[in-house]
């Protein structure tokens, strides 16, 4: 025993043994060789190779030899590891170890990012946007952090990548060992990878304030950097550094699985291959993830169970949250099965102690141990370009390994030591006798009892029990210093009060503990505890943190649903061949409204319309007494987009694209199907004069975001006029918002004149094959307008501004496709008609702000009568699902014919979007986008019973009831499982209600991209229920 302790002492001194040539030494040099021989161990060299009874030689930082027949040279400290294991130390590819604390985002946001600085104020010749920080090199900031290193080493990590987790382009990372040594000594790769994200972090620049802005900024940066290489006009450190770091591995941190797809679009555009660090939800779209052919870094921070005992509170847990709780632990195995290359990181764990529990949980769901080990060693090492140094055990590699009591993934395995760069970190002293077991405890004055020591060495758990008439149970506390032990406990009865025992390990086989103690009454005792057998599982009858969970075969899990939210499909529905018999068919064609007619759909198209059609193989639906209309088309919608609907930080943001931020998981896609909506035009908001590019989409519930897009449709862009653009309704306390030009309708005109003047110059400069002019995404979109390749839908209210834009368009040579909202369109309908500009308006909205003081519900009727192509839109997720009723208000107000009224929300918006060759009417050859109504579709009493998009029955009122039932049952099943999990003692969390974010025109921020949420909070409090109408 004494010898062992001496060895320990020598080992503890090991970190002193380094010397660095260029560094002076105070006193005599103390250089030690650091030569160790680990013998008789089972050595897992790599996931694919194990050496039994092997020897590992370590010299200084490196492995000198590893193998079965390695002889131990003289001068080596020999450590016998008989019965123990050696594994390569783990590699964590995603940490901020040793980085300075990121400053909190305190300023720079406010109202939708408008109150930050427009252009970087950071000293130095950097680029304009502070979120682009490729110049940040982790190597210049890194500093060894012993406390944090210990936390990682406790879990067996010996190497980490570290970087500054801030900004969109985040600069370069380092790979370091976790040795407690001088910064110079731990560096393995001083430029391991370049890092990216969609989050602007602490940047004070107000742009971007939205996800689509982040994407646009990154894309523009790639183009700027390309241009920068071949020019000499500008000196810009950010672009130079951006270029310099392109050859490194490129790591992109994203949150949800849809963001992986978003980032990958950028990768493809610029010929990049990103490695994705995700939140571990790839299982939700595993096929799409596999198709990317990319590598991933995934976490194992599986969500904790929710407190579900209170049924009312439990309603606040979404179905997606429930399902994610159940399925998140299956993410690693889903990745493995799909053949996706991935590393596992400990990032994101609230408690580092959960790391192994969760790894074992993942294994219990089917992740193979081999894959797990590879994902924790070789794969991250390869990703970071350090596979020649770490990840496996081989001669010449770093002495990064761990010593374990058992096979690594066994539930009761103990990591004794983690060695990193030849530097030892002892977690639990393997030299010492493992005290775990059951003992009989007896002594003078001391009632005989059974002592159980469980847990892990270094973190023992103690319980005591006695049987018979005075049966009792209690927990105790043990502390151990080498061979000395201290133990105290309180039986609460006979005697009551703490019994304190001090003693030592008197014998190792069987283990006997012996010593003196003090009873609660002050009398002393001589005691002995003698080992009788192994400790029972389950911590001596007391619930622990569920550490043994990993051994249990998990209960089967529910299916993945598409999309991963309420009402998701277990399988994406397919197009049907259907014959609707004997309906009232609103054709929107010259046939008008046909009574007692049939409609046949096949292969996603309308095959035939007429009387007495033959069914053939089609499913027949009796539509007697029912109506069929074309699917409803919403010209102005803000659903199914994420990360902010406005990039309102600048007056011209034509570079941002809704196409980049479609959210296929938005429940409103489904809800609107239930209102007969089949196509929606998703617009940028109205915070600025030239907003972003829009996206036409079909309501295909369950598909990927890219598949929502209306194939081949023309590109559109959102413009806006009036109060939102000139920031009239921004509260005074957000004073600096007043700084953004324009603040008047006079200024709005000049924004357009200036933008299109620049666009024309840009077009000229870019013309010709040899043009070296910088590609500018903002001006490019405007040039497309000038070329009639992109079309304008312009948010507009009062006649003066409408007239103004018509004049600007005429003088600058572009066309306006649609005025949207256009509540005073009735005052200028003749001019709109003369310019062939469509009007897409609200049926009856007014009085919500000054510029709608003269908005009238007869607007649609008047525009229509003057010959303007007229439609009604929603700008509102609620109103959208009853646009049929809104159309009917043109009958209420102005007595428009019913046939023409329905066209306001079907054929006419289809024409505005240039897709009336595909949708908008019921005509053979057109898309089978249809609604089966219970009644006249213009009636308040009409219910959308079935809605088809491309012949696929995405909405069915009856099937929806079944769906709800199935969902309730599944929720119930998962909640039962949660209660069981809680019963086992796993951690839980309180339900927190996540209100779906609904966007309207004027919404200018999203809490995901800007921190200050107080504006919105304040507004909601102030206006309560009227909030909804504020945003038009």
């Amino acid at each position: 025993m004494k010898k062992l302790l001496l060895v320990c002492f020598a080992l503890l001194m090991v970190h002193l043994s380094r010397a660095q040539e260029t560094f002076p030494v105070n006193g005599a040099w103390d250089v030690r060789s650091g030569q160790y021989a680990f013998t008789n161990a089972t050595i897992v060299v790599s996931a694919g190779q194990t050496i039994t009874n092997g020897t590992l030689l370590v010299k200084d930082k490196l492995i000198e030899a590893v193998g079965q027949n390695v002889s131990v040279p003289k001068g080596y400290v020999t450590i016998d590891l008989k019965g123990k294991y050696i594994y390569p130390a783990l590699v964590d590819a995603f940490t901020t170890y040793g980085m300075p604390e990121a400053p909190r985002q305190t300023t720079g946001f406010g109202f939708g990012g408008r109150s930050g600085v427009p252009v970087s104020t950071k000293p130095g010749a950097y680029g304009w946007n502070e979120a682009i920080r490729p110049d940040v090199n982790a190597k210049t900031l890194f500093h060894v952090n012993a406390t944090r290193a210990e936390e990682l080493k406790r879990n067996g990590f010996g190497t980490v990548q570290s970087f500054v987790q801030d900004g969109i382009a985040r600069g370069t990372s380092v790979v370091v060992t976790l040795a407690d040594d001088r910064d110079n000594e731990v560096m393995l790769n001083d430029q391991a990878a370049a890092h990216y994200s969609f989050s602007k972090g602490t940047a004070a620049t107000n742009y971007p304030s939205s996800l689509m802005g982040s994407i646009a900024l990154l894309r523009q940066t790639y183009y700027d950097a390309q241009w920068y290489k071949g020019q000499s006009k500008e000196y810009n450190i950010s672009l130079a550094e951006f270029n310099r770091t392109q050859t490194l591995p490129q790591i992109f941190e994203v949150s949800d699985v849809q963001s992986v797809l978003r980032a990958d679009k950028i990768a493809k555009e610029f010929g990049k291959q990103y490695i994705y660090k995700t939140e571990g939800q790839e299982y939700q779209r595993i096929a799409a993830i596999k198709a990317l052919n990319a590598s991933f870094i995934i976490p194992v921070n599986f969500p904790a169970a929710y407190d579900v005992e209170d049924p009312i509170e439990a309603r606040n847990i979404s179905y997606a949250q429930l399902k994610n709780w159940e399925l998140a632990p299956t993410n690693p195995v889903a990745m493995e099965k799909a053949g996706v290359r991935f590393a596992i990181t400990s990032a994101g764990l609230t408690n580092a102690r959960d790391f192994w529990t969760n790894i074992r949980t993942a294994i219990s769901y089917g992740l193979t141990e081999k894959q797990a080990l590879r994902s924790l060693t070789e794969i991250p090492a390869e990703m970071l370009g350090v596979s020649n140094k770490v990840g496996t055990l081989a001669k010449g590699k770093m002495a990064n390994f761990m010593i374990t009591s058992n096979e690594l993934f066994k539930a009761d395995n103990v990591i004794y030591e983690t060695w990193s760069g030849g530097s030892r970190f002892a977690i639990s002293k393997m030299e010492l006798t493992d005290l775990r077991g059951t003992y009989t405890l007896s002594g003078t004055n001391l009632p005989a009892s059974t002592l159980t020591i469980s847990g892990t060495p270094g973190s023992y758990e103690v319980s005591l029990s006695r049987s018979g008439a005075d049966s009792a149970r209690t927990r105790g506390t043990i502390t151990r210093t080498g061979d000395l032990v201290n133990l105290y406990f309180d039986f609460k009865n006979k005697p009551s009060g703490n019994i304190r025992l001090g003693g030592y390990i008197a014998s190792a086989s069987p283990i006997t503990l012996r010593g003196d103690g003090i009873m609660p009454d002050g009398t002393s005792t001589k005691w002995t505890a003698t080992y009788t057998g192994a400790a029972p599982a389950g911590n001596g009858g007391f619930a622990g943190r569920g550490g043994a969970q990993g051994n249990r075969a998990p209960a089967p899990v529910g299916p993945v649903i598409y999309p991963f939210t309420a009402f998701g499909n277990t399988e994406i529905p397919k197009a049907e061949t259907v014959l609707f018999k004997n309906a009232t068919v609103w054709t929107n064609e010259k046939e008008g409204i046909l009574k007692g007619a049939d409609v046949l759909i096949e292969n996603g198209k309308i095959k035939a319309v007429g009387k007495n059609l033959s069914a053939g193989g089609a499913k027949v639906i009796d539509a007697t007494g029912k109506h069929i209309s074309a699917g409803i088309v919403d010209e102005h919608s803000h659903i199914a987009a994420t990360g902010g609907i406005n990039e309102g930080t600048q007056s011209v943001t034509s570079e941002v694209r809704i196409a980049d931020v479609l959210d296929a998981d938005d429940i409103n896609i489904y809800r609107q199907l239930a209102g007969g909506v089949t196509t929606s035009h998703i617009l940028h908001g109205s915070a600025n004069a030239i907003g972003g590019q829009t996206q036409l989409m079909k309501h295909r519930w369950g598909v990927l975001p890219e598949q929502l897009k209306f194939e081949g449709s023309d590109g559109f862009i959102k413009f806006a006029l009036g109060e939102n653009v000139k920031q009239s309704n921004v509260p005074q306390q957000f004073g600096s918002a007043y700084m953004r030009f324009p603040q008047t309708r006079m200024g709005v005109e000049q924004v357009y004149v200036d933008a299109f003047t620049r666009a024309k110059e840009y077009k000229a400069a870019r013309a010709g094959k040899n043009s070296t002019a910088r590609r500018d995404l903002e001006l490019e979109a405007l040039a497309e307008i000038l070329d009639n390749k992109r079309f304008i839908t312009c948010h507009s209210y009062v006649q003066s501004e409408i007239n103004m834009l018509i004049h600007v368009a005429d003088s600058m040579g572009f066309k306006i496709n649609t005025f949207t909202h256009i509540l005073e369109g009735y005052k200028l309908a003749d001019k709109m008609q003369a310019h062939k500009i469509a009007g897409s308006t609200f049926s009856d909205w007014w009085a919500y702000k000054m510029e709608v003081a003269e908005a009238i519900p007869y607007n649609g009727k008047l525009m229509h009568e003057v010959g303007v192509l007229t439609g009604f839109n929603s700008d509102d997720a609620e109103m959208a699902r009853r646009l049929n009723q809104e159309a009917a208000k043109a009958v209420t107000y102005g007595q428009l014919s019913q046939e023409d009224a329905l066209k306001l929300v079907t054929l006419n918006p289809a024409k505005m979007m240039h897709v009336d060759n595909r949708i908008g009417s019921i005509k053979p050859g057109k898309d089978a986008d249809l609604v089966l109504w219970s009644d006249n579709p213009l009636s308040i009493y009409a219910v959308a019973e079935k809605t088809y998009v491309d012949g696929v029955p995405y909405w069915d009122y009856e099937k929806d009831a079944e769906r709800q039932k199935a969902m309730k049952a599944d929720e119930g099943r998962i909640i039962q499982k949660m209660i069981e999990a809680k019963g086992r003692g796993t951690a839980t969390q309180r339900p927190a209600f996540q209100r779906p974010r609904l966007y309207e025109c004027q919404d200018v921020e999203d809490s995901a991209y800007t921190v200050a949420d107080n504006y919105n909070g304040m507004l909601q409090k102030q206006q309560g229920v009227d909030q909804q109408s504020q945003n038009k």
Binding site: I312, A888, V891
Partner: protein
């Protein structure tokens, strides 16, 4: 439709251009003589329909309602409503109608007083009879409204107002009927996929809510004591304003949507023995038994709304009236805001596709609302002795396809159905040389 009505405005209406201007829309004169409406389909408001019915009223009161030929029409103005529908005037509770003219223009907003506890503040006096919005709402059959203060924990008191009158005093139908309260919400709300703000710890929402409830309890205990005592040493206008709650002359309108909040509010009202009305009640269907057992009615705010939760039935707000009807809870309906109250008939009609009968939907915005506001003795149904608050529509008034109000009467007064929107329509129809179809 409105020829008759135009005649009422005499020469002014001969030219649509001359007619422009809200200022020419006159408040109605008191009923001058008996009126009998004949041949109509009469929706009584209590679920009953009278086909080919008549209704007679004089001096502002209904004198006879029945089927077939009217018993006596001598000396009366007879309105032939054959094929047309007669409804009790629709009643719009919980609204900012008359208190707000333009939502975003602070100067026109008299809806939200500063401070948390304002039981003494009264909406009555801010009701602007000259609002341009009011005529657009009554044109759709809404004839009574409850302008209600907003904001803070106790926004103030409301009154029931007629949608016609020279000033608030003569537009008042029943004054200071209730005190409004916003029940604190106990649940944590987060944005979807919001990034956590590091280092921000907050008081748990449940704790915050409980604190607020404790404050209410303390306030009500004091108000109850104040109401019970003789002349107080120091007058407190807030506590004095609450007196009516404890003697039954005022109701307590509590905004609460969550099931938990509703239960808390019911217990609270029981404890202080006050008449409770739940406003909002999105989850009221989950605690319908409790509401029924305690005779607590619910004013649903909007059927045309989205469900709160992704998991909810997509049509839940449409179905809510039917769920409460089935559960035996008394429920009424309000629209939202002020100008949108012209859609109140459609908000009611919306529930019909989802379980409610048409007459139940009519009751929801007539008799039920009247009961909840405590004005059912004088209005809410077309029954003898009640005020002649009614209108004639050429078609089903709950459906936008058929709603077309031809005549409307408040206390027997024939009110103008012109409004700013019709005027602007005529003005621009003139510009384009088209015929306005009102």
């Amino acid at each position: 439709m409105n020829k008759k009505f135009l005649l009422g405005f005499g020469g002014l209406m001969l030219s649509t251009i001359l007619a422009f201007g809200q200022a020419t829309i006159m408040p109605a004169k008191p009923q001058a003589g008996p009126v009998v409406i004949t041949g109509a389909t009469i929706h009584v408001g209590n679920g009953r329909i009278i086909n080919n019915g008549y209704i007679a009223f004089n001096n502002g009161k209904i004198t006879a309602v029945g089927e077939g030929a009217a018993p006596s029409t001598a000396g009366a103005t007879v309105v032939n409503a054959a094929g047309k529908q007669v409804y009790p005037g629709f009643i719009c509770p919980i609204t900012s109608l008359g208190l707000v003219e333009f939502e975003s223009v602070r100067a026109t907003d008299d809806e939200t007083e500063t401070g948390e506890l304002n039981p003494h503040v009264r909406s009555l006096v801010a009701y602007n009879t000259d609002s341009k919005v009011i005529p657009t709402v009554r044109s759709n059959g809404v004839l009574l409204a409850q302008p209600t203060p907003q904001g803070g924990n106790m926004p103030g008191q409301s009154s029931v107002m007629m949608l016609d009158g020279w000033n608030w005093e003569d537009a008042a139908y029943k004054t200071d009927i209730g005190i409004h309260m916003n029940w604190p919400v106990a649940r944590a709300a987060r944005g979807r996929r919001a990034f956590a703000v590091p280092g921000q710890t907050q008081e748990s929402p449940a704790e915050r809510a409980q604190k607020q409830i404790d404050e209410f309890t303390s306030l009500f205990s004091q108000a109850q004591a104040y109401a019970g005592g003789s002349k107080p040493e120091v007058t407190n206008v807030r506590l004095a304003a609450m007196k009516g709650l404890f003697n039954g002359s005022k109701k307590l309108f509590v905004n609460a949507n969550g099931a938990k909040e509703i239960l808390q509010a019911v217990n609270f009202a029981k404890r202080f023995n006050v008449q409770l009305v739940i406003v909002g009640g999105k989850e009221s269907y989950l605690v319908a038994d409790v509401l029924k057992d305690n005779n607590v009615p619910v004013i649903i705010q909007e059927t045309q709304a989205l469900p709160d939760k992704d998991e909810d039935d997509v049509y839940l707000p449409y179905k809510l009236p039917h769920l409460l009807q089935d559960a035996g809870v008394l429920y009424g309906l309000s629209g939202i805001g002020f100008w949108r109250q012209r859609n109140l008939p459609f908000e009611a009609g919306q529930a019909v596709g989802y379980g409610l009968s048409k007459e139940q939907a009519v009751s929801m915005i007539t008799l039920n609302n009247a009961k909840i506001l405590g004005i059912d003795k004088t209005t809410g149904t077309l029954e003898t002795g009640k005020d002649a608050n009614l209108f004639i529509s050429t078609g089903d008034a709950l459906d936008m396809l058929t709603l077309n109000v031809e005549n409307a009467y408040i206390k027997g007064k024939s009110i103008s159905l012109d409004n700013l929107h019709k005027q602007l329509y005529r003005r621009y129809a003139e510009k384009y040389g088209v015929t306005p179809k009102l």
